[in-house]
Point group: C2
Chain length 306, copies 2
């Protein structure tokens, strides 16, 4: 175990899945996905990641090897009796919209995450989208996390509001999209929505707006960054989780949790997400290097500076 | 007449109208509007503006006085026989969408702009949204403009394509919104749309995305700036024309037409537009000062820097 000062590891709790994805141009069958998988691989470019998720007996060794090759600690990746979580979705002509065609929870239905002892004093925690009661239960297993961030989705905002509100009181950074922000706050205007959400607990709110970029809101300030303009968005799946992975990864690597540090981290998150959408699933990250990331970060600077 | 080197005046050709506007929250009847009016007042914070438009016999002296009080040259503002152009529109709950409820061209139906002699050697030209044949005809009356920018709308893209394409070959900067960019190019992706439009003639393309900001495309580079996040958008009417006014106004004032200069000008345009939408019509600009603009420009810097 690393010493208190030097440990910059991130524990992510969420799903690992096989996705079947249809876009207007193409299709991919049973490819690696899930919020925790996207987050873990994205964050692994910056800091050590420990993964808490459940997979089925059908999960192939080569995918486990891929995660391990990214230096992701898999002690918390348990194998349940049955098949891995499956999701099938179809994107509209407008790739900002998608329909879920099929959802098979499989082993994920009984997911009750227990942290391995070696994970409990990790300084950085990301609670990817799962039932907020489970997010809360996992959170209580950490000894003294330095930074806790979480995500949620429409399903839980509508169906598990009390548990979500209880969780938000314990979370520093909430990372959601604009539709979720409207739903939590009941406000259409993004600035008013943000003020309401901050009053529920988080010190920082990040609102992901897809091709329009990301907004940061805190009590002191607002930060806005556009998305990297791409000639083609091949598959938007996992962009939000990859953004979160790049964001928390950079925070862990730099150790700079100030707002200036968070702003840079948002740009790193945006960079990683911009690569992820260039191909199906996590394919682009199988060849992506840290140098590629740093090069596009510099392009982001010239994209936005005036 | 100013000397060749010192003249930084901008001629704008377009409409002056009375608008009746319904928003989900409120309503205004017969308030000053029109593309050239918004542009002229916005640009007047930065440079001398000369207005080419037609009004009816019903145009009140106090509105003419307001324009004159902004140092806008009104020699090109002719009075036609009949009533001033009227537009009535209603915004949806989502203020990015609106319906035209009524349109009365009145004196604008026979608008055939003729430049006063004193306007012909103006260095900066903005052709606001009118029939592209008229835009072209006005353009031919300038002796040697330094910079020509124009706007257009869906109506002309669909109904006057050949005239529009002929015009685009003569224009340096095209300023349109994302829907118009998709329609001109036939491309949904904004980067591919921009490439196609640049191939039609303009050296620079500005794409306005409402609450999501503005994109600049040129052969060399891309620049993206978010919109200023407002707690309330009271009336979006004229935001695009005010953006163009602030943009060209700053270019004329600074004389810096480099891409760095254009980037700053885009931020100034965004600042002016962010004030315009805070009230109906041009009301906010009746009290706005240059100091207010410069203050919000600095807020834009802290909104976007990382």
């Amino acid at each position: 175990m690393k010493g208190e000062g030097g440990d910059m590891s991130i524990v992510v709790v969420g799903s690992v899945a096989f996705d079947t994805i249809e876009t207007p141009q193409s299709r991919a069958d049973e490819v690696l996905g899930g919020s925790a998988a996207y987050f873990a691989v994205a964050a692994s470019y910056f800091a050590p990641v420990k993964l808490v998720a459940v997979i089925g007996e059908d999960f192939p060794a080569h995918e486990r090897d891929f995660l391990a090759s990214r230096n992701i600690d898999l002690e918390g990746l348990t194998v349940g009796k049955g098949r891995t979580f499956r999701w099938t979705g179809r994107y509209h002509e407008d790739m900002n919209m998608r329909d879920t065609l099929d959802l098979q929870l499989n082993v994920f239905a009984d997911f009750a995450p227990v942290l391995p002892t070696s994970y409990r004093n990790a300084p950085f925690v990301f609670l990817a989208n799962i039932n907020p009661s489970l997010q809360d239960q996992v959170l209580s297993q950490f000894t003294q996390p330095r930074l806790i961030a979480c995500d949620t989705i429409t399903h839980w905002i509508e169906g598990a509001r009390p548990a979500l509100e209880a969780l938000l009181k314990k979370v520093e950074i909430l990372i959601i999209n604009d539709e979720e922000a409207r739903l939590i706050s009941g406000e259409r205007n993004v600035v008013r929505a943000a003020r309401k959400i901050l009053s529920l607990g988080p010190r920082t709110l990040l609102i992901k707006r897809g091709e329009y970029g990301v907004l940061l809101f805190s009590a002191q300030s607002v930060f806005a960054v556009p998305a990297y303009p791409l000639e083609e968005v091949f598959d938007p799946t996992g962009a939000g989780d990859s953004f979160a992975g790049g964001f928390l990864g950079y925070l862990a690597e730099s150790g700079d949790l100030s707002e200036a540090g968070q702003r840079k981290a948002i740009v790193y998150g945006s960079v990683v997400a911009s690569f992820v959408v260039e191909d199906f699933s996590l394919r682009r990250l199988r060849t992506l290097t840290r140098e590629d990331i740093d090069r596009r970060y510099r392009q982001f600077v010239s994209l936005t500076q005036f």
